[in-house]
């Protein structure tokens, strides 16, 4: 199934083709020249503009200036074909073709009062009788009230009118589908995050999808909405900011998902580098975006290479995706490459997220199974044959030999069963309850072994917050009874020391007795497994457990970090 999906994506990808552009029918025969001032004759085809300046300089306020350029029509135009001229320029202008007004994007000199939305990109129809083969003159009468500092020139292109009018709109259709997909993805994962706040990776993915959605919309919004040229730069600044945020979040996401070491250190230094690029490489907005996204690509690749080195799941596929995105970046022009390569990176993130979610689900299922197993093990304590049958045998003997004691024994047994039933479905119980459980167990063992067992608790039981997973001390107590023999006067003492400070809670459990058979290692017993599994269940990795023979008997220390 996975392979099938990859193949489908690959086929879709290679089927993408850049639409054919119509034949060029013109060439520019001079640079655009400029002159401040206003003169009706400046529109004329035969006007001599030899002393005009090649450098655009914008006059004060709404004052008029002119721009001229000679263009040669190189092919004979079919009399029925619509030909247009697309112009990109800041300011309000009137367009003259061979001295004849063919259109305008606003009223030059009256930008403020007319309140018209003066858009920087507009397409005008050139009547066919004005398109004879040979030289022609494009003249613009214009004013530029805003963005005077922007030094961009004036661009024009003569092509099929329909192509000029619809080409970018067609791109917009597809790109908006993409944007919709990102928006939905973002919302879906945001909701997922709300239902489980611990999934920070999900949130980052949702956020980057949303930022990417915004980036697409804002990048392409100019093709279907009229934006005043005064806001053109503002839009570019938003795009820059979005690119900056995405470039930061994507590697940060990878760092978190691949559990990078020193993540704080990485985050701060990466942010610093990105911020420097954002602030200092600002010659052109496209250059800044390019540098930022290259930085994103570079650092993501570093993180993923590290993950591969650490043999992390899914890292290789993500790296392949990144390399592919880089190849595309290099092949296509900026507008296209940005989106295709970002889409691939997002797909990688998507894939990684699904892998991680699966891992988490498996871990969760495992933890449920583990809890059930531990609960079962706890219940089994008192019905496993060694305990139960030995107890019953002793019990029969007490009943036969000393019925009154036998009744006491049954009562002690009933108490232990009752206590175990109370805690069997708990993950943590108050230490006072655990002590009660231990004492009742000792009471039973007194009847069985006829040894004088003593219990001592040291350190205050302050409150209900002092908790412990059920039957942990109980298990240590069982071990103590099993592995230690009583000292001379047929007695054995157990001592529980509770210590608590701001950082940790410590239980020390001591057995005073003769250790039997010290040669054998006792590290992997089922009792220890139970204790460790219980501590894992409740405290993750924030615990320590040691158990060793001492001169007085046995010493167990459980330390729980707060």
């Amino acid at each position: 199934m996975k392979k099938f999906i990859y193949i489908v994506f690959f086929l879709i990808f290679i089927s993408c083709k850049y639409g054919e552009r119509p034949e060029l029918i013109s060439e520019k025969t001079s640079e655009m020249v400029f002159k401040k001032g206003d003169n009706k004759n400046w529109r004329l085809k035969n006007f001599n503009d030899k002393n005009w300046s090649a450098k655009k300089s914008v006059p004060e306020g709404e004052n008029i200036f002119w721009a001229r350029q000679t263009i040669r029509i190189t092919k004979k135009v079919d009399s029925l074909e619509l030909i247009g001229i697309g112009i990109h320029a800041f300011g309000a202008y009137e367009v003259f073709w061979d001295g004849i007004l063919i259109g305008k994007n606003g009223i030059p000199g009256k930008e403020k009062s007319s309140k018209e939305i003066v858009i920087p990109d507009k397409t005008f129809h050139i009547p066919n009788h004005l398109l004879k083969k040979g030289g022609h003159v494009l003249a613009l009468r214009m004013s530029q009230l805003y963005e005077k500092k922007d030094k961009r020139g004036i661009y024009s292109y003569i092509l099929n009118y329909d192509f000029l009018a619809t080409d970018k709109l067609k791109d917009t259709i597809y790109i908006n589908i993409l944007a919709g997909a990102f928006l939905l993805t973002s919302l879906y994962y945001l909701l997922l995050f709300f239902s489980d706040r611990k999934q920070f990776g999900t949130f980052l993915f949702s956020l980057s999808s949303f930022l990417f959605f915004l980036l697409i919309i804002i990048e392409y919004i100019k093709f279907y909405t009229s934006i005043h040229y005064a806001n053109f730069i503002f839009r570019l600044k938003i795009i820059g900011l979005l690119t900056f945020l995405i470039s930061f979040i994507v590697p940060y996401y990878f760092a978190i998902q691949f559990s990078l070491k020193h993540i704080k250190w990485f985050t701060y230094s990466y942010f610093f580098i990105l911020a420097s690029i954002y602030l200092f490489i600002s010659d052109s907005y496209d250059q800044t975006a390019l540098a930022l996204s290259q930085m994103m690509w570079f650092s993501s690749t570093l993180i993923i290479s590290y993950a591969i080195y650490k043999k992390q799941k899914a890292a290789i596929i993500v790296l392949i995706g990144l390399l592919l995105s880089f190849v595309i970046y290099k092949i296509f022009i900026y507008d296209i490459s940005l989106f295709v390569s970002f889409s691939i990176i997002t797909l990688c993130m998507f894939y990684l997220l699904s892998v991680k979610l699966k891992e988490q689900r498996l871990a969760f299922e495992h933890s449920i199974a583990e809890s059930t197993r531990l609960r079962y093990e706890l219940l089994k304590k008192n019905i496993q044959p060694h305990f139960l049958m030995n107890t019953l045998t002793s019990l029969i003997d007490w009943v036969e030999e000393a019925p009154e004691k036998g009744v006491e024994f049954i009562e002690a047994l009933a108490l232990e069963f009752d206590l175990l039933n109370q805690v069997e479905d708990q993950k943590l119980i108050p230490i006072s309850q655990e002590i009660e459980l231990c004492k009742s167990h000792l009471n039973i063992m007194k009847y069985r072994k006829e040894i004088d067992y003593q219990w001592e608790t040291e350190g205050g039981i302050k409150n209900e917050d002092q908790q412990i997973p059920p039957a942990i001390i109980h298990t240590l107590l069982e071990n103590g009874i099993t592995h230690c023999a009583p000292i001379e006067n047929n007695s054995m003492k157990f001592k529980l020391i509770i210590k608590e400070d701001l950082k940790k809670l410590q239980y020390t459990f001591l057995t005073y007795g003769k250790v039997r058979n010290t040669k054998k290692e006792r590290k992997g017993g089922t009792g220890f497994k139970y204790i460790k599994a219980r501590l894992n269940e409740s405290y993750g990795s924030k615990w320590k457990f040691t158990s060793e023979a001492k001169s007085h008997g046995w010493e167990n220390i459980i330390t729980i970090e707060k």
Binding site: N390, T393, D397, H483, N517
Partner: protein, 232 residues
């Protein structure tokens, strides 16, 4: 009778001791309880015994080591244990009986009956004969045994690979443990029936059997009839 009880539960040890005393009465010469494997092994090594009563789960340690040692000795072993699922393995090793806990007087005495009556045990579960070697104990699969010959208080076990092993148990004790496929044909011989090729009748009511490996073993006059019935 010299009896050793290996049991770590004091109350139960006392119960076993009491019931054992009640059963054997004045035939009992010596009875002692120990509560750990270590003490048990030491006692077995240094004392003459007729019976060991053994708990397989002592202080959390597996009693199968001591079980192997115990069954390789001349005396019988009876297991008294809470873990019923270990019964089959215990019988495979060659214990006389397995008494599950909790037990009562009758059940324990039923086990003791097997010792004094010297009757053949109904169990068919014996799989191994534990033989003492210089440093350790070797388990011989009874499938490899052809016949067993009594040699005073010891026995000689003849194997199908031509080798011979010594066992500390007497022929009587082994015949109690071995399954019915082994037949007593003579006061000194215990033979696996399907290893017998034919019964040879000689003049003067002398009988013998020829085994598949061409060995010839004597057959006791009193055993002949029983053997013949079984062979048919």
């Amino acid at each position: 009778m010299n009896i050793l009880i290996i049991e770590d539960e004091n109350r139960i040890a006392k119960r076993i001791e009491r019931m054992t005393k009640e059963f054997f009465l004045n035939t009992l010469k010596n009875i002692i309880c120990v509560s750990s494997l270590q003490e048990g092994i030491e006692y077995i090594q240094n004392n003459e015994l007729d019976l060991v009563l053994l708990d397989l789960n002592l202080n959390g340690e597996n009693g199968f080591d001591i079980l192997q040692k115990s069954v390789s000795e001349s005396f019988h072993t009876i297991i008294i244990s809470a873990n019923k699922h270990e019964a089959l393995t215990a019988f495979e090793y060659g214990v006389l009986d397995f008494v599950p806990k909790p037990f009562n007087k009758n059940r324990l005495q039923q086990a003791f009956d097997r010792i004094i009556k010297k009757e053949e045990v109904t169990t068919e579960n014996l799989q191994f004969l534990a033989v003492k070697k210089r440093t350790d104990i070797q388990l011989i699969n009874i499938n490899n045994v052809l016949y067993i010959k009594g040699a005073g208080v010891y026995t000689e076990i003849y194997l199908n690979n031509g080798k011979k092993e010594l066992h500390d148990k007497s022929l009587e004790k082994l015949s109690q443990l071995l399954p019915k496929t082994f037949q007593r044909i003579h006061k000194s011989y215990l033979v696996k029936i399907n290893e017998i090729k034919e019964i040879i009748v000689q003049t003067g009511s002398k009988y013998s059997v020829e085994l598949k490996n061409k060995e010839i073993l004597p057959v006791g006059r009193t055993k002949y009839k029983l053997l013949k019935e079984k062979m048919i």
